[in-house]
C-alpha cells in the first residue's frame, strides 16, 4: 500500500515537473524524438537487410562447371572433395544430359539445336550446385573448389553479392555511429533537464530530507520524470514507424527496386519495432535522469 502511494506521488510529481519546466522538457523531448526516429529507421533497415540477406542466402549457390573431358572417376573425386569442405551444406550434381534435358524443355529453339548433340561433342559441362552454410565465406569456398582438378569454372554471382555485403555492412556501421552519438546528446540534454528540476525544487528536497523522507522517495520522482520524457519522446517515432512503414510497404508492394529485395511484412513487425522504440526511449530517459540524480542530488 505504502509503496503504491509513494509511486503514485512520484508519478504525479514527475508529470507536474515535465510541464512546469516545459521549454526545457520540450528540448529533451525533441531530441529524444529525433534520436528515436533515426533509431527506428535503423531498426527497420537492419531487420529488412537481415531478412532479405536470409532470403538471398536461400537462393545462393556456387555453380561448379567441370571440364568437358572429365571422366566419371574424376567427377567422383571432385564430388568427394566438395563433400569434405567445411562450409558446404549440400550439393547436387547435374550431368550434361540433365542440363540438356532442362534446356530442351524450356524452348523449342534449344531443342532443335541440341538434338544434334550427343555426349561426345556436347559443349555442355557437368555441374555441381553447391549450397554454403555461411554466406560471408562463399568467396573462400568458391576459390577452394576452383583449385580442384578438372574444375574449369566456378560462378557464384560474386560481384553483386560482394558489393551488397560490403554496402550493407558500411551502412549499418554509419547508422550505429549516428545513433550512438544522438543517444549521447539526448542523455546529456536529459541530465540538464533533470538538473534544472532538481535545482528548482531544492527547497522542497531539503524539507523532505528534514522531515524524514527516504532517499527512495526523494529520488524516484526525478527518475520517473526522465522516463516520462523518454516515453513522450517516443510517441512521434512510433507513429512514424507504424504508419510510415505501412505506407512504404504498400507503395512498393512489398519489394524494393527489384523482386530480389523482399520487405518484411508490416504485421507484426511494426508492433515489435514500436515496442522496441518505446523501451529504448524510456531506458535512455532513465539513464539520463539517474545520472543527474547521482550527480546533483546529494541525499
Amino acid at each position: 500500500m505504502k509503496l503504491f502511494r509513494m509511486l503514485g506521488r512520484s508519478f504525479r510529481d514527475a508529470f507536474k515537473s515535465v510541464f512546469r519546466n516545459f521549454s526545457l522538457s520540450l528540448a529533451s523531448i525533441s531530441c529524444i524524438t529525433i534520436t528515436l526516429i533515426i533509431v527506428a529507421i535503423a531498426i527497420i533497415a537492419s531487420f529488412n537487410v537481415k531478412n532479405f540477406t536470409k532470403e538471398l542466402e536461400k537462393d545462393m549457390t556456387i555453380v561448379v562447371f567441370l571440364d568437358t573431358k572429365a571422366t566419371e572417376q574424376e567427377v567422383t573425386s571432385v564430388k568427394k572433395k566438395i563433400e569434405s569442405l567445411e562450409n558446404v551444406e549440400k550439393y547436387t550434381f547435374k550431368s550434361k544430359n540433365d542440363v540438356k534435358k532442362e534446356m530442351v524443355k524450356e524452348s523449342d529453339v534449344f531443342k532443335t539445336v541440341m538434338d544434334g548433340w550427343d555426349d561426345e561433342n556436347s559443349p555442355l559441362k557437368d555441374t555441381f550446385q553447391v549450397k554454403v552454410k555461411d554466406i560471408m565465406k562463399i568467396g573462400t569456398t568458391a576459390r577452394k573448389i576452383e583449385k580442384m582438378d578438372k574444375v574449369s569454372v566456378v560462378r557464384y554471382g560474386e560481384n553483386m553479392v560482394d558489393k551488397m555485403v560490403v554496402a550493407f555492412a558500411s551502412i549499418e556501421k554509419v547508422a550505429y555511429g549516428v545513433v550512438i552519438a544522438l543517444i549521447l546528446v539526448t542523455v546529456f540534454l536529459i541530465v540538464n533537464t533533470i538538473k534544472l528540476t532538481i535545482f528548482s525544487r531544492k527547497r522542497e528536497i531539503s524539507i523532505m530530507r528534514l522531515v524524514g523522507a527516504s532517499n527512495f522517495t526523494i529520488k524516484t520522482p526525478f527518475i520517473i520524470e526522465g522516463m516520462v520524457l523518454g516515453a513522450i519522446g517516443a510517441i512521434i517515432p512510433i507513429l512514424i514507424t507504424t504508419f510510415g512503414y505501412l505506407a512504404f510497404y504498400n507503395h512498393f508492394e512489398g519489394y524494393l527496386f527489384s523482386p530480389v529485395i523482399i520487405l518484411i511484412k508490416p504485421e507484426p513487425f511494426i508492433y515489435s519495432a514500436s515496442l522496441a522504440i518505446l523501451i529504448i526511449g524510456i531506458i535512455v530517459g532513465m539513464i539520463g535522469s539517474a545520472h543527474a540524480v547521482r550527480r546533483y542530488l546529494k541525499v
Binding site: 500500500m1 502511494r5 509513494m6 524539507i207 530530507r209 528534514l210 522531515v211 524524514g212 523522507a213 527516504s214
Partner: protein
C-alpha cells in the same frame, strides 16, 4: 533517562574552523533546554549534529538510542522521523497552503490520507491555527508562519523537537507566543525540546535548563538557569 548523550564531541569544519570542542553533555527525556551563546559559539553546529546534518570530527553522539555518528547516509531518514526541526526562517513551501505544508511531512513518509488528516489537524490545533488551514504562507504573520513550521515539526509526534533560533525573526510579543506554544508541547506531550537562541529575555522568563557555549566549549549547564552574563 537520557534522550541525548554526547561524549567527547569535537567538530572541525573543512575550512579549519573549530565549532565544537570536547563537549560532554546529556539531556533528559522530557526536558526543555536552551542552548545559548554568542555568534560562532557552536549552537547551530550542535543542533545540526543532533539531526545528523553534520558529523562530529571526534566523539560519540547518541540520540534516542541511535548512534548518530555511525548512522549511514541512506539511513538518516530513520533518525529524522523521530525528531522535529524548526528554523529561524520557517522553511515553508510558498505554493502550498498551511494544511498542505503540514501534510507534506506526512505525505513524504508515506502515511495514509486518513492518518495524515487526523494528525495534521491535531498538530494545527496545538499551534492554534486550525482556522487558517486554507491560507498560504504569505498571507500569515511571521509568528503564524513559525507556528505552521512547528506544526509540521510535531505532526509525526516526535520524541525530540530541535529549534534553531525559532524566534530570531520575530518581535518580542510574537516570540513569547511561540514560546508558549513550545512550552505547551513540552508539557502536554512530554516532547523533549532543545532550542538554540540568543534572546536574553526569553531565557530569563522561561526559567528552563540552560546550556551555555562559548567558542565551542561548554561553560555552564544549569537547571532553571538564566542568561549567562559572560556572553
Amino acid at each position: 533517562m537520557d534522550l541525548i548523550r554526547l561524549k567527547n564531541v569535537s567538530k572541525q569544519y573543512k575550512n579549519g574552523v573549530t565549532a565544537i570542542q570536547d563537549l560532554d553533555l546529556s539531556i533528559k527525556k522530557g526536558s526543555f533546554t536552551f542552548v545559548i551563546g554568542g555568534s560562532g559559539s557552536g549552537k547551530s553546529t550542535l543542533i545540526k549534529m543532533l539531526y545528523r546534518e553534520e558529523r562530529p570530527s571526534k566523539g560519540q553522539i547518541v540520540v534516542g538510542g541511535v548512534n548518530v555518528v555511525k548512522l549511514r547516509n541512506t539511513k538518516v531518514y530513520k533518525l529524522r522521523r523521530k525528531l522535529g526541526i524548526v528554523f529561524q526562517d520557517y522553511r515553508l513551501l510558498p505554493k502550498l497552503t498551511v494544511y498542505e505544508n503540514v501534510n507534506f511531512a506526512m505525505e513524504v513518509i508515506g502515511a495514509s490520507k486518513n492518518e495524515a488528516r487526523t494528525k495534521v489537524l491535531k498538530a494545527l490545533e496545538v499551534v492554534g491555527l486550525k482556522n487558517k488551514i486554507h491560507n498560504y504562507p504569505d498571507q500569515l504573520s511571521g509568528g503564524e508562519q513559525q507556528r505552521v513550521a512547528i506544526a509540521r515539526a510535531i505532526v509525526n509526534e516526535p520524541k525530540l523537537l530541535l529549534c534553531d533560533e525559532p524566534t530570531g525573526n520575530l518581535d518580542p510579543e510574537m516570540s513569547m507566543e511561540i514560546m508558549k506554544v513550545l512550552d505547551n508541547i513540552n508539557k502536554e506531550t512530554g516532547t523533549t525540546i532543545i532550542m538554540a537562541t540568543h534572546d536574553k529575555e526569553i531565557v530569563n522568563k522561561m526559567k528552563k535548563q540552560v546550556i551555555t557555549l562559548k567558542d565551542g566549549r561548554l561553560i555552564d549547564f544549569k537547571e532553571k538557569g538564566t542568561y549567562h552574563e559572560a556572553i
